[in-house]
Subunit: 246 residues, 6 copies
Amino acid sequence: MSTSTISRPSGRTTTQLRPLSIETGYTRHAEGSVLIKAGDTHVLCNASVLEKVPPFLKGKGQGWVTAEYGMLPRSTHTRSDREAARGKQSGRTQEIQRLIGRSLRAVFDMQALGERTLQLDCDVLQADGGTRCASITGAWIAAALAVRTLTGQGLLKASPIKDHVAAVSVGMVDGRPVLDLDYIEDSGCDSDMNIVMTGSGGFVEVQGTAEGQTFDRGALDQLLDLAHAGIGELIAAQREALARAG
Amino acid sequence: MSTSTISRPSGRTTTQLRPLSIETGYTRHAEGSVLIKAGDTHVLCNASVLEKVPPFLKGKGQGWVTAEYGMLPRSTHTRSDREAARGKQSGRTQEIQRLIGRSLRAVFDMQALGERTLQLDCDVLQADGGTRCASITGAWIAAALAVRTLTGQGLLKASPIKDHVAAVSVGMVDGRPVLDLDYIEDSGCDSDMNIVMTGSGGFVEVQGTAEGQTFDRGALDQLLDLAHAGIGELIAAQREALARAG
Amino acid sequence: MSTSTISRPSGRTTTQLRPLSIETGYTRHAEGSVLIKAGDTHVLCNASVLEKVPPFLKGKGQGWVTAEYGMLPRSTHTRSDREAARGKQSGRTQEIQRLIGRSLRAVFDMQALGERTLQLDCDVLQADGGTRCASITGAWIAAALAVRTLTGQGLLKASPIKDHVAAVSVGMVDGRPVLDLDYIEDSGCDSDMNIVMTGSGGFVEVQGTAEGQTFDRGALDQLLDLAHAGIGELIAAQREALARAG
Amino acid sequence: MSTSTISRPSGRTTTQLRPLSIETGYTRHAEGSVLIKAGDTHVLCNASVLEKVPPFLKGKGQGWVTAEYGMLPRSTHTRSDREAARGKQSGRTQEIQRLIGRSLRAVFDMQALGERTLQLDCDVLQADGGTRCASITGAWIAAALAVRTLTGQGLLKASPIKDHVAAVSVGMVDGRPVLDLDYIEDSGCDSDMNIVMTGSGGFVEVQGTAEGQTFDRGALDQLLDLAHAGIGELIAAQREALARAG
Amino acid sequence: MSTSTISRPSGRTTTQLRPLSIETGYTRHAEGSVLIKAGDTHVLCNASVLEKVPPFLKGKGQGWVTAEYGMLPRSTHTRSDREAARGKQSGRTQEIQRLIGRSLRAVFDMQALGERTLQLDCDVLQADGGTRCASITGAWIAAALAVRTLTGQGLLKASPIKDHVAAVSVGMVDGRPVLDLDYIEDSGCDSDMNIVMTGSGGFVEVQGTAEGQTFDRGALDQLLDLAHAGIGELIAAQREALARAG
Amino acid sequence: MSTSTISRPSGRTTTQLRPLSIETGYTRHAEGSVLIKAGDTHVLCNASVLEKVPPFLKGKGQGWVTAEYGMLPRSTHTRSDREAARGKQSGRTQEIQRLIGRSLRAVFDMQALGERTLQLDCDVLQADGGTRCASITGAWIAAALAVRTLTGQGLLKASPIKDHVAAVSVGMVDGRPVLDLDYIEDSGCDSDMNIVMTGSGGFVEVQGTAEGQTFDRGALDQLLDLAHAGIGELIAAQREALARAG
């Protein structure tokens, strides 16, 4: 796919990711901690190791990976209600944290993890679109760091992580496929997809939604191509961040 | 795609939908009422016309379409907790009712609907896989019947419905693409997708999830083809049910 | 009591029940499943066998029978809020499900049931007055079918059911006692009672409420007579439905 | 009915009420405040005048009477959970407060009350059976005192109270009808009824429940006679308490 | 400090407590029961002995002391919502019950109490300011009575209570320090403090809040002196009440 | 007070604050945003301007300042439950956010603020003791930045902020007064206080709690002196941060 020249609000080309920044060890208590910034979307991803499993897995000799997601009230343009104060998580929040959990579980060997839980907390400090994708991409790094902690402590011999997993959004904007939508693009696009893929190119999740108008098979094919390329870059960045973290 | 000959638990071919039954006017109070049966999955879809809109639409001269979803406690193989008694809807329930609402809104002209709400209630009386897809397919018929009620009462001049919408699941079972999974197939498949499409063949929602193992681009393409064919049959059945209803 | 000739909205005499329809095996997963229709009031009664008892009965060698009740949002003339979405059951719902549970327990030998729970779910698909009475009458049949399932599986040797139990409403309408009120009559009556009785004519519950004006002892006596006769017919219908179910 | 000689735990005859004590003006902020003691059952009944009505009555020129009920955690033999801490009222609590509200409304002229709400709070300080009956009997006095406050302030010209209302429990204990059950008798009886009647002898509520075994028509008749006599005494006590209060 | 002559709404001097009344054995089920009245503030304090401890103390051979607090809806000048009906305790309620619990725990030897919980329920029947202080002062007496019950039953050999604890409010009103604020004074003061002290003069809690304007070190010193004197009187009253209770 | 030489876990003297870092403009959407770090305690304080006031202030021509507080689940040594997932805020959370709100309101002129709300969100990214104090100190800076935004937009002519406000903890550790406790010290101290003071040295809040043993008047005096000095340093840092922010 050739680089498009249509102007995007950010000045990016249609095939260009936002500037990506990954800071490991952002907080000190978590077994794995990552602050990931995709442009103005900043998500703190903490991985905690809990030496217990949910009731349905007790005594089965395998582990579990799960996630929770939240947005700080003023991570958004106008302040949102605090979910803890309202007394419940929104449908959107639950949908996203279920997605993060499924995505991470797709690349974990639960037997190799042993009877413990890897709990991922993805908290959005600042939002500018694509928070669920940044959460998945960052959570994988936090999980990898937590696994390092476990192997460093001798609690794990081999890594239970089978592959990378990362996510990116794509969408049709004014009839053209565009990579990694920011908030303005996301609000105005015709349709958008969130694609979750592994390092070996397998799809984990494909979630496409027509916002204004439906999309045809041709558009779908273009969006999938675009996402594939973007996820390759994200996985390279994951690899580099882990290497830097030592 | 040629008809596959692998045996399915139900004896269907891989490209065969479950027997479909659509009973209109199932309950008498709702403006539109449909009992849809896709094999052993039975969903009661009621459409109610409410002469009000949500706060964010007040005074804008346009309408709203929204949905709620529920499963009766013993619609399932083993009894599930009643959500009203537990005091909250599960994440799964919220995810599904958001999906139904988005799917229906995709084919409605909100201006033409006028400042009123079409409220869809999809309640699963008996479940055997694919309840969200049956809900969407049935809800569209209930919505169409409610629109008839409104036009019959002179409250609407023209229908605000722009197109059909229907949904079907597809999945990779033992490495082969299969249409319209029932519960046993759904539990054992490698990956499954729920596809929502319009009568004119546009995608409204594409939701694919790798359960056991990821799926590649080739599998994705096959699944999309299979879904497209299935949805054509479902839309024909919608058309026929509406004709029968008079 | 002689048959009255005053006109009722339904054309029934004052001593006439609504047309009763009982369909057994309505859903396939429940150990006992009944769709009971008393005129336009339709209630799906499912009985589930749970191999556990509430904490206060653990290890006591006896069983438990309990019930939950719900109305589908559009079972009523105008749509009601979904209790699961509101996050709690109304006082009315709790009152009714407690009544159903007490009524069924009155005819069960808990020792003979063994350390298991019979859970009854009464869900109103369509409402036209008298839903709690139809629920009790239908739940008893569902319970009897579930007991058959247990004896068929060899899990029970003898039936723990000691007697039939059924319920009917009666009320003073324009100063005359009337049997089996539908919604219009219920809304306009001076006082109404819900009577729950066994096959041998014992009272299980007597719940009378003055709506518009209080009722005297003479009226009370007439209402009790009327209910007694109606319940006799309902119990005959229960017996017949069980016979038909094989 | 002749006075029975069977021994009751309290030493009362079967037709004897518990010692009744009614203290008016128990708290100073409420428009009407009564501490009623029926033996060891002590209920604080406060009536508040709120110059507003529920939404469904707005602008209709009539008032409303409603009630809430609660038990202090250690009003009972063993401590119960605090409902405010558990985050919800039990089904029993809701059932009782609905009963109190209906009972009081039966003797109020809502037009004469004007567009305001009489809110009754019945809080059990100490429980020994019959708390709902003591609540109704005491709430009527609190309501009457609140009406006096309103007429004293010139806000009401005539009393909207049409009649007395009071309540008592009766039950079959060892095959004999007994008046005004205390906790021990209530726990061990075969069946019990709560009867709510007006000063002119009309029934407002009749709620009979078979606990251990069902009751026949003869028993029912005896229980109703017994309740009628007891309520006469309670209403005389209400009259005297109001006279004393000045 | 000399007795001030400025007029207070109640006619008290600035260093004078409200008339104090302590009635022990107010309810009969609680192991310790006290109705404490500080002027028009009336709080029922019940102490319950529960033969269990919270999960974090299980098997550690020590006990726990905890408290819950509530206000009856019409204990206040205008009726407040019932927390059980609203479905949650307010932040103020939680803050107060945490304070009561901490205050009582400060004078308990948890080893000597043994593996049981002393649960204090402080319910405000009538409020006129200072309800949290009256709750603490009264709860200590209820706790002491419950300990007597335990020693009387031979369940405890020695008392686990190490010292008295009592509480009083003080505040700057029109620039002068005032003891034991009632509701009118509390609403209008510049700043107020709640002081919790033991019999030996140690501080357990010091909670000062500037309402209208901040307070300086000199004012703080005066308030602490005043509270110290007041608490001495309260502890003398506790001692006398226990002696009277026999 | 002379500098103590006892060793603290952090190597600080007893009168030494933790290293303080204040980063303004940490997030971009909030009208005022500050990341404050007191040693290993990191709190993100965002101030939002809402052009509305709570119902009780509507139409009174004055503003409101309020606060919410939260801890990210893995801000702590071991992961805590997410309050949004549990469905309610703990008593501790509510207590802290009420304290922050009161503290800020003490230095605001609500008339000068105009009919709008300043909403402060204090979210703990990493906790090591003293989170409520860091929240207050940081929230004041965020509030001052939000006021700058309002004056910059011409919405305010003069600042409604009358004075600085900051907070610090002090405590008795092994019998000696210590400033600015970190988590280890806080867990092991005999008693601790949180002191909130203005720039002009007035007390806003004084909250002292005996943990292990009570504290006498002499200890209290020493702790207040220590806090006074520490708050002077914090206010100097606030001033400097605002100057740096331009």
